[in-house]
């Protein structure tokens, strides 16, 4: 097994320390940071995502893998910056105004991070204006809105409309999710995508950004 494959495998096994060590070894050998990221980390996390989807891995194990990825990224970051490498994409997340549920949104954030995306999480009960400011500040590729109540889901529409009124709608894709939300509702309020669960949210983001399963 080559060391990149080993890195991917250790990631999936949650061996955080070993992942960091292997990353350092690869860097020392002169392997490009972008290659380590793509063929080691993101490839490893793709397998993790697959296993989660098929029911072979639970969230705590995925989080363990994700923390290995973070450890490795901390080492890679200076090199990536030096190379001017682009992250896979930035995603802005938030639960809409009036809604205090955040566990579902948090899951989506964790899964997306594992897939190599950068996450900006605005938390819960987020008014439209705060989304607009964050879009201006962070220029995300995608905004993810969450709502868990039939009486807050229309605030997703309010938020999308406000983003439009601020002239920012063409800069971002918007995805929505949460217990009462459906594909039909997503279409009706002018969202670009809907996902039933956190695993499918990753697929939807990749699809919207034209990113293949392997990153």
């Amino acid at each position: 097994m080559n060391e990149l494959d080993e890195l991917a495998q250790c990631l999936g096994q949650g061996q955080t320390k070993r992942v960091a060590d292997l990353t350092q070894q690869l860097l020392d050998k002169g392997v490009g940071p972008q290659r380590i990221l793509n063929e080691g980390l993101i490839a490893g996390m793709a397998v993790v995502g697959e296993k989660m989807r098929s029911g072979e891995m639970y969230l705590p194990e995925v989080l363990q893998a994700a923390s290995g990825m973070q450890a490795s990224l901390r080492l890679l970051k200076p090199y990536l910056v030096k190379e001017g490498a682009q992250p896979l994409g930035k995603i802005l997340l938030g639960t809409v105004k009036g809604d205090m549920h955040d566990i579902g949104k948090n899951l989506v954030g964790i899964m997306l991070q594992g897939a190599g995306f950068e996450i900006v999480d605005l938390g819960l009960n987020v008014p439209p204006q705060k989304f607009i400011e964050a879009i201006t500040d962070h220029t995300p590729a995608i905004v993810g809105l969450s709502a868990m109540l039939t009486t807050t889901m229309l605030n997703m529409k309010t938020t999308i409309d406000a983003i439009g009124a601020a002239g920012l709608r063409s800069q971002v894709k918007v995805i929505v999710g949460g217990a009462p939300v459906s594909q039909k509702f997503a279409e009706e309020i002018g969202a670009d995508g809907y996902a039933r669960d956190a695993v499918l949210a990753v697929d939807k983001v990749k699809q919207l950004l034209g990113v293949s399963a392997q990153g």
Partner: protein, 457 residues
């Protein structure tokens, strides 16, 4: 005045029955619970709409429509009795007068139903625990807590027959601990933080109820154990994890009874059977009847000891038959006919056994809800002196129950599940003997998530 439950309310597991509780209560319009009948508890919520002042007339008309439906359908279905629950939505708790207005509408319809056709009925009102609007939550002071307390008072004044809540103290830590599969953190949240908050909260609620001469119902570990159940159903957490969280969650809900709650417990409190075994109070349960609100692996077994049978929540939308709340009320009514005919004909143990045996080896979450498991977990709880040790004991007993069913060849678990069972077992064995030691360790790990003063720590 705090009660200390040191023994069970029943002698054996077979004393745990549906429709009968050692300590029946009477509430509302002559609705007697736990004395030989099971009644529907109907739940409902608004369809997709904006809940604010501008749309208030539309909000009101939904509750009026539901009230009228209840009067019509209770006659059509020959209901012998009915509980309806009004679960406030967050803005209705933030504006206590809104919640009170809906309370009085529903109360009026129940009074009419009672007068028109003699229906025994009562109105349960459940304000939203909005104290987690800030992170970390501010539990004992501030605007949110003031609104919650006012909401209880206003709804009581407006005609609530009993008050309940799904309280959130400790949830901020439990959520994160569950994501990381950290059973130590879960025990800390459920056995150390949550009981302190439930005690604070229920002392207040019991005082409000006694002032208004109404009934302090009970709490629900919904935000803890049902979150675990949902994560398990999405494949995010092992089923054994959710099963053990269920058992552990009973202790924090028990604290409400220590403070003076008398039941019936909340429908979504699947820990209800344990509470009934300990306190003897009637309980509300939901199972397949709540498939409108969430899916679960405990559809039948959840009914084994219920005194009220609920649908948890359904939007007031239109199905082909009529409104969705009416459709689910019909389902509840027919299920209740079965409970009650079984009691009347003396076949309730046979029927209970069907409800139990049809589920318990399909899922460890169902297994821990059986009367036998309930009796064992409840026994483990009353033997221990502190909430922390009760919570740890409940968790360990749940592990023992699951292990035994595996050893007996009755429960088959996937290898990943067995692996987690052993991992949880080890965490539980490694728990410190003294609560202070756990508090110290956990405040390092989770201290950023909660404020000690919210728990009197």
């Amino acid at each position: 005045m705090k009660k200390n439950f040191t023994q069970l309310s029943v002698k054996t597991a077979s004393d745990l029955a549906f429709g009968k509780a050692p300590k029946p209560i009477t509430c509302g319009f002559a609705l007697r619970l736990g004395s030989g009948q099971v009644y529907p508890e109907l739940n409902f919520t608004l369809p997709m709409m904006t809940l604010d002042k501008a749309h208030w007339a539309a909000v009101v008309s939904h509750y009026e429509e539901i009230g009228e439906m209840v009067r019509r359908a209770s006659k059509r279905l020959h209901l012998p009795g009915l509980m309806i629950e009004f679960e406030l939505l967050p803005p209705m708790t933030e504006h206590p007068e809104w919640g009170a207005e809906i309370t009085s509408i529903l109360q009026r319809h129940l009074r009419l139903a009672h007068e028109e056709s003699g229906l025994s009925c009562a109105l349960r009102v459940t304000p939203t625990d909005i104290r987690d609007v800030t992170r970390p939550p501010e539990l004992r002071s501030g605007k949110a807590w003031d609104a919650v307390r006012q909401s209880f008072d206003s709804c009581a004044a407006a005609g609530a027959d009993l008050l309940s809540i799904e309280s959130v103290g400790g949830k901020e830590v439990c959520d994160e601990a569950m994501l990381y599969g950290d059973m130590e953190g879960v025990v800390f949240a459920l056995g150390v933080l949550a009981p302190r908050d439930v005690e604070f909260l229920w002392n207040e609620i019991v005082a409000i109820c006694s002032e208004h001469k109404i009934i302090p119902g009970g709490d629900s570990a919904c935000g803890f154990a049902n979150t675990a159940m949902q994560l398990a159903s999405q494949g995010m957490l092992p089923e054994v994890f959710a099963a053990i969280v269920r058992a552990a969650s009973a202790v924090r809900s028990l604290v409400a009874y220590e403070c003076g709650a008398v039941g019936p417990s909340k429908d979504c409190a699947y820990e209800g059977p344990i509470l009934k075994a300990i306190t003897g109070t009637p309980i509300s349960m939901e199972g397949k009847s709540a498939s409108c609100a969430h899916f679960s692996p405990v559809g039948n077994v959840a009914a084994a000891m219920c005194d009220l049978w609920s649908n948890e929540s359904v939007q007031n939308i239109r199905l082909l038959s009529g409104s969705a709340p009416e459709a689910f009320l019909e389902l509840l009514a027919y299920d209740c006919r079965l409970f009650n005919k079984a009691i009347e004909s003396g076949t309730e143990q046979t029927y209970q056994k069907l409800l139990v045996d049809s589920d318990i080896y399909e899922s460890p979450q169902a297994l821990v809800l059986s009367p036998d498991s309930t009796f064992r977990i409840a026994s483990a709880i009353v033997k221990e002196p502190t909430h922390y040790r009760k919570t740890a004991a409940a968790s360990r007993e749940a592990v023992a129950i699951i292990r035994q069913a595996i050893d007996d060849g009755k429960l088959q678990l996937a290898e990943r599940e067995s692996h987690w069972l052993e991992r949880i077992h080890s965490s539980l064995e490694a728990l410190p003997q003294h609560e202070e030691d756990l508090v110290g360790a956990m405040s390092d790990q989770y201290g950023r998530l909660y404020t000690p003063r919210s728990y009197g720590l």
